[in-house]
């Protein structure tokens, strides 16, 4: 980190005090206001943070945290049934796949274009799944109506986070997750059209729901937390 001749000692000292958390409330706000418009000051702050971090690098001893910390952390970030870690893993590893994105866009378009029809459970569901969060905070029942090529969804518990949407994904084998659409915020029951070629994938796949920005993932792959997961089984 090189010295910056363009920064006064006073500004440098204040940047250091800010990095240490030594400024009073009003000083802090004034400094933050200057930071927003002064790139040199931001660079000086970064330089101080780096210098101080070196103190921690050289003087703070490593202490291996107990295993329970990692367990609690992962449980908090990736709530999912413990028996199915493989699926979640794959979900997390998902990348952007152009084809999947197109398919998702197409599906979304089909769904949006359908005339409104009251959602009702299929009489003879071919496949079903309970998509549930580990702690039960989100539970959605899915049933596949083979006759109509539609997936019936019933949200029994939970809702989208404020300002966010819930998106439904199909994970089949080693494939990247395929978006089946964004769940309706206002209705607990709905039907999503499923492309016929996905029927086979559904039959032995896994359904998952992730937390996404309004309108669904902007990338075509899940971007937010995976909230609930459920394996599909034959009825």
């Amino acid at each position: 980190m090189s010295d910056r001749p363009d920064i006064s000692p006073e500004d440098s000292a204040e940047a250091a005090e800010y990095a240490l958390g030594l400024l009073s409330g009003s000083e802090r706000s004034a400094f933050e206001a200057r930071l927003a418009s002064d790139a040199d000051l931001r660079a000086e702050l970064a330089a101080w943070q780096s210098r101080f971090a070196e103190i921690a690098m050289s003087e703070v001893e490593e202490v291996t945290p107990p295993a329970r910390v990692e367990k609690a952390l992962l449980g908090r970030l990736f709530p999912a049934p413990a028996a199915r870690p493989g699926w979640i893993e794959r979900f997390g590893l998902a990348r952007l796949y152009g084809a999947v994105f197109l398919l998702a866009a197409l599906l979304l378009w089909v769904v949006v274009d359908l005339p409104p029809r009251p959602a009702y459970p299929p009489e003879n569901a071919a496949y079903s799944a309970q998509i549930a969060a580990e702690d039960g905070s989100l539970v959605v029942i899915a049933q596949y109506d083979a006759a109509r090529g539609e997936l019936y969804l019933e949200r029994q518990e939970g809702d989208a986070r404020p300002g966010r949407d819930l998106e439904l994904w199909l994970i089949a084998g080693e494939e990247a997750p395929i978006s089946l659409g964004v769940l309706n915020r206002d209705q607990g029951r709905e039907r999503l059209a499923l492309a016929p070629e996905l029927e086979t994938a559904l039959s032995d796949g896994v359904l998952a729901i992730s937390d996404e920005p309004r309108g669904g993932s902007p990338t075509g792959a899940p971007t937010g937390d995976v909230l609930a997961v459920g394996a599909v089984s034959e009825v």
Binding site: A13, E61, V69
Partner: protein
Amino acid sequence: MTDASAIEGLIARTALKDRAAFQALYAATSAKLFGVCLRVLKDRAEAEDALQEVFVKIWHRADRYRVTGHSPMTWLITVARNSAIDRLRKRPRESGGVDVEDLALSDPTPGPEAQAVASGEAARIAGCLDELEQDRAAAVRGAYLEGETYADLARRFDVPINTMRTWLRRSLMKLKECLTA
């Protein structure tokens, strides 16, 4: 500890929500960051909670790492240090501030492991802190590693707050001079 470019790669993959990379990042850096939390909070249970919080932040903010322009360990340590300090300052302060004797006991003596990982930069900061008068170096460490405020430091060194501030600012400038020489 894994080298900087490897850690940088893990942060980049964590930004893509790669869970395996995130766990590898945890494996590579949690001991250092737990050390930082412990050093600030001096309470194991609280440090464990803080560490969890730190990695939740890392998971959510990994995509913002690049814009900070930091080296990977600087970024991770800054996140950990600031989270722990926030926690420390939210504590009820009826304890009457920091006990000088506790500080003496917890004074930093880098263990062999820490010394082994110390990069050239890190070795340099130790040298430059050594060039400061002993209690001034202690004040810098106190502010960074113990989260001491000017009021805490003034009490500890038994000087008026303004004097403390002048002292510390001067020490910081000396430190910078030494580091950038």
